[in-house]
Amino acid sequence: MLKLLRTIVIAVSLMGLCAVPASAKTVSGKAPDFTLKSRSGHNLRISDYRGQVMLINFWASWCGPCRQEMPLLENLYKRYKKLGFTIMGVNVDTDSTKANNYLKDMSVTFPIVYDTTNAVSKRYNVNAMPTTVIVDRNGNMRFLHQGYKPGYENDYKKEVVQLIKE
């Protein structure tokens, strides 16, 4: 029994070794364009924001780390929006009422769009909740963050500042 346990533990540990993508990595390629309905009822298209640095954040009402991250994204938005920076919060709930209920208590001023069919999440190959993609002024994806843990917002800040300065 002990030997079996030992074997399983080693095997599992080895599994853990196999490349799991790091939380922050650089990416390249054009950010896939999309048009989604926003909170205000109007459609928003990300290519309309060309010329600004954009942080696209995929989030869900049922995701704890997403909720933790929201106020910090709001701070980031308020701080840098005058310098040509915006955040696009893409909500992946299939039922937007849950997202709206959440937003009622959490005041965010950056645009929120609803990806209820998850078509955009698929295009962006979203592999974790939340997922944050930072796009430069030319519409190129530059940084990808999968998941959220306290402290990531400092990385977002550094990357956003770097892209603003370019």
Partner: protein
Amino acid sequence: MGQAVVVAVIKSMCNKLLSGIILCSIILLGLAQAAQATVLPEERADVMYHSYDGGGVTVSGPSILVRKNASTNTSVYYNYYIDHISSASLDVLTGGSPYTEHRTEQSGGIDYLHGKTTTSLSYTTSVENDYKSGTLNFNLSQDFFGDLSTLTLGYTHGKDLVSRRGLSYDLSEISRQNYRVGFSQILSKNMVVGLNWETITDDATELRDNTGTLSGVTLNNPYRAYSYYDSTTGQRGFAPEKYPNTHTSNAFAINGSYYLPFRAALHGKVKFYQDSWGITATTYQLNYTYPLASWIFDFRTRWYSQSKADFYSDLFARQDEYTFMARDRELATFQSTSIGVTASWDFAKNGWGWVDKGSLNVSFDHMEFDYKDYRNALVGGTPGTEPLYGYGADIYQLYVSIWY
């Protein structure tokens, strides 16, 4: 490739040391690049009042749990639990007089999250005036396959000191070891299943008293007696139980949860048990969880059936008929059925100060025990013809939970 060499070296180290099991997993997991993670358990505090009333026994008391993140990667918890016991059960009345007792249990533990792995360590003590126990638990949980699968491993080591009320020395020392493996798989957007296996071994050492005499107590309850037909009186005679000093058991459970087409869930569990004392048991459980506005209702039913231990008998033919003899009804052939309901009311849904949300919960279960080979010896008459025993129990739980 360099990684593979390091792994091979550590593997050979692991094969040598028993404690290497724990050491190895921590080292190997430390090598993992993963900065991605699953999540720690939620921060919360719960205060509960529990009450059991059945078969002449009442047990009630509080249970208080507090859990908090100590850092972004660690969560700590503390649980304080009390059983205040008033027992006038059939076993107690057959052998002696009712008693009251107080059991205090305290637990503390830490969960550490690294990558997709959660490592947990906890320690529990249980103290009564005639029974002391200490237990160390270790658990490892790993998510993989896109977080659709979870593998858990666990090991528990415990030590119990058994005595009798009024004695200044211990009668028996029990060493316990548990080995657990679990695998959970998400099958679809609406369904998850799990498999769990646990092997438990107990090893008792019979202790001596001040005069050097062996206590006669190993894994048995020191207050329980077996019963035999006393031919001189034509009545039941009683003598202290004699148990083996080892016990190994295996349990295997399959459980599943299914999200219905409307917002509600079904949970099922089937468990098979067998042990080295000849006992086999099966458990079936079904729960239906139904939310309604700010409420969540749980309806549940449980059916349990066990067959007796090899050395159990309600009435032995004579004293010392066998080496091992027991009449503890926990080892008898019986069935128990229960139904229950929990009503939870969510409050502070939008937060209140530092509280994110809270819930108030009330729970009631009714259990019926039906013994097939344990008789009510208080009734009197020809030994072995007394009515088979059965009783009902009512269980209440009232608790408040807050998340922060």
